[in-house]
Symmetry: C2
Subunit: 396 residues, 2 copies
């Protein structure tokens, strides 16, 4: 038995970690745009990266370290993804760390993590000048979370305290950025998870990908995948306490919660929708149909318009290639039956009820396929005018 409690102030709770965000002057509004996370001594790190073949320079730089390496420093920046920058992009990272070493000589196997525009060289000099502003003993989760924001409309921080039966406890905390481009392959999303649990490296390597699969990879804002997505899990084992089941549950909770924040912050999104597909022939087919719904542009605009146009739901499932048929399909919006074989046309009453469900900030669209026993839930948001505005003007 164990208890999981949310606590405030994100990363600050995790013993032995320090972090801070400062302004290097890249964001025109003077907000934080460069940050660090560091530990007292080098510690274990696990990572899940983008599936995009054009991996950004920071990812390539990370992958040059030997398997099982330890690190004590992550440097983060916003406004420039350092992607599609070739060998120079990696060289820039090396120069940056040479500069950092002057201010902070103890860095070992430092890691960089970047988000922003693709295809521009980093301004190494300007970025390095920000090191003067770093307080390496700071514990400042808020400014760190703020520094990695791009089109995000709110900071994403979370911390859970896990209490074991014997009164021992550990913390697991995370910050995250992402709003646009979030898709089943977790695009343009950076997530830094820190823990002082006494977790073996092998558990980090197995639990992290699984947690990502169930959370970040189940959400969708617009179906695109980026060059920079990264989820890091760092552990310094400093609490000395650990329980695998408790850690798994807390990690899954954190990643799930953050991924819902990403959807909620879908560029210009006004509502969060859970697309549950059940009765599928296989788990794969359940996943394909659920993600087809959360990615469909016509479904997204119908959600924005609060139009109970279930035809678009049915049509999207029909086009997804999964096994299904008109006779066994049943569609609910929350508890409102909106389509079944014997209930095909929307009467005024149902339409009114469905419209009321769609006015909510979050609700569920449930499609029972009736051809098998497998389910999957994907999360998505609507797409409105704000999405177009934000993305048409992104670089300006």
């Amino acid at each position: 038995m164990f208890t999981i409690l949310p606590v405030k102030n994100g990363l600050d709770n995790v013993s032995g970690f320090f972090c801070q965000g400062v302004s290097a002057g890249f964001k025109p509004n003077g907000k934080e745009d460069v940050a660090f996370i560091r530990t007292d001594k080098p510690c274990d790190i696990s990572a899940v990266f983008t599936t995009n073949v054009f991996q950004a320079a920071p990812i390539k730089h990370y992958l040059r370290y030997p398997k099982g390496f330890q690190t004590n420093f992550i440097l983060m920046n916003a406004k420039n993804a350092n992607a599609m920058t070739g060998a120079e992009g990696i060289k820039d990272i090396e120069t940056i760390f040479e500069n950092l070493k002057i201010k902070f000589p103890h860095i070992e196997n430092p890691i960089m993590s970047s988000t922003g525009v693709i295809g521009c060289r980093l301004n190494v000099e300007k970025l390095s000048l920000a090191f003067d502003k770093f307080d390496f003993l700071a514990k400042n989760s808020h400014s760190t979370a703020s520094a990695i924001m791009t089109t995000d409309s709110f900071k994403k921080e979370i911390c859970l305290k896990v209490e074991l039966e014997n009164g021992e406890f550990f913390h697991i905390a995370a910050i995250c950025k992402g709003a646009g481009m979030i898709n089943p392959a977790m695009a343009t999303m950076l997530c830094f998870i820190l823990t002082d649990a006494d977790i073996p490296k092998v558990d980090m390597d197995t639990l992290l990908p699984k947690a990502v699969e169930l959370s970040f990879n189940a959400v969708s804002v617009d179906g695109d995948t980026s060059t920079n997505d990264t989820v890091f899990l760092m552990s310094n084992q400093q609490s000395g306490n650990y329980d695998k089941e408790a850690f798994r549950e807390a990690l899954n909770l954190i990643t799930k919660e953050l991924s819902l924040m990403l959807v909620k912050d879908g560029e210009g999104a006004t509502k969060l929708v859970a697309f549950e597909v059940s009765g599928a022939k296989s788990i794969h087919e359940a996943q394909v149909a659920a993600k087809a719904l959360s990615n469909s542009l016509l479904v997204k605009t119908a959600l924005f318009g609060e139009d109970p146009n279930w035809g678009r739901i049915a049509s999207t499932i029909g086009a997804s290639g999964v096994t299904c048929n008109e006779e066994t399909l049943v569609i609910h919006y929350d508890n409102v039956l909106i389509y079944s074989n014997t209930h095909r046309s929307l009467d005024a009453e149902t339409e009114k009820k469905a419209a009321a469900v769609m006015k909510k900030d979050s609700f569920k669209i449930h499609c029972e396929l009736g051809v098998g026993a497998f389910s999957f839930t994907a999360y998505g948001c609507d797409l409105g005018h704000e999405y177009v505005k934000i993305n048409a003007d992104y670089r300006t």
Copy 2:
């Protein structure tokens, strides 16, 4: 040798065919919403249908006829797709044709084709009342093309006169509807191609799917596929003239031209973009990458914003799963080199030139992958505020 000439007035040129659109009162503005195409005597017909498993009732009704059947009547309606309507949907079609037979006793194996909202029963009575307005000897391509329009902002009609070397000639003409939901699998799109060429049925059956693959299936507006898409090719062989190569070329021209009209009419679209991918490892990979570009929401919004943000182009190709790498990739906007291994950052001059290209109504984005010898061109449009507006309010 042969000559292909465009001629005006669409379907009216094809001998032995009659057509007309009238208003049954389904469109609130009193425009045409029910139409017919008929021939003097039953003639050959070929069809390509949607890949959506929820095929609409009119398609199911068509598929009940024996292979190689002949018909002399197609009835069309807009505003109601008669999809997801179960056995009743098919029964409604039968009732409609019983009613039609009273006005026009000569119908043989009649076909229906519908477009509009999914999941509502047809108003059989109201639709049948429109038969009184039909002039079965009319040749009125314009009103027919108008009757099948839904969110289309312009009528789509085309006719080509094919002159053979010996002075003989035949016509091939088409009308088409489609604007939203157009995707590689040719969604919510109806196309009726008529010819008086003396074409053998076997050539109709082989040339039509090929033409559709190269045209309608290469265009994308929003990546969704519908329950009703149909391309019909009808031939009464009445001219007595035929040349396979000439017919193939004319058919390909017509379908290509219509598919570009569909993209141009993408809901709220302001520009038409050809996405050419060359140097791919296989034709399949060229197609996957080109369609990924034409379907990407982030690419579409960058096009709308006229932002030469080639990072989104590169990122989309990288995410598409095709073989490629940063070193051999070369991106052009029309003739402006925008990315190559030795030309990674946009200088002000290039940015200005690229922005000028993007201001055009139509232009090409060319990505050379540099890993093989295969190419494919997909067509797409931008996505702006109008798309959201049209689709959020579709049913109202």
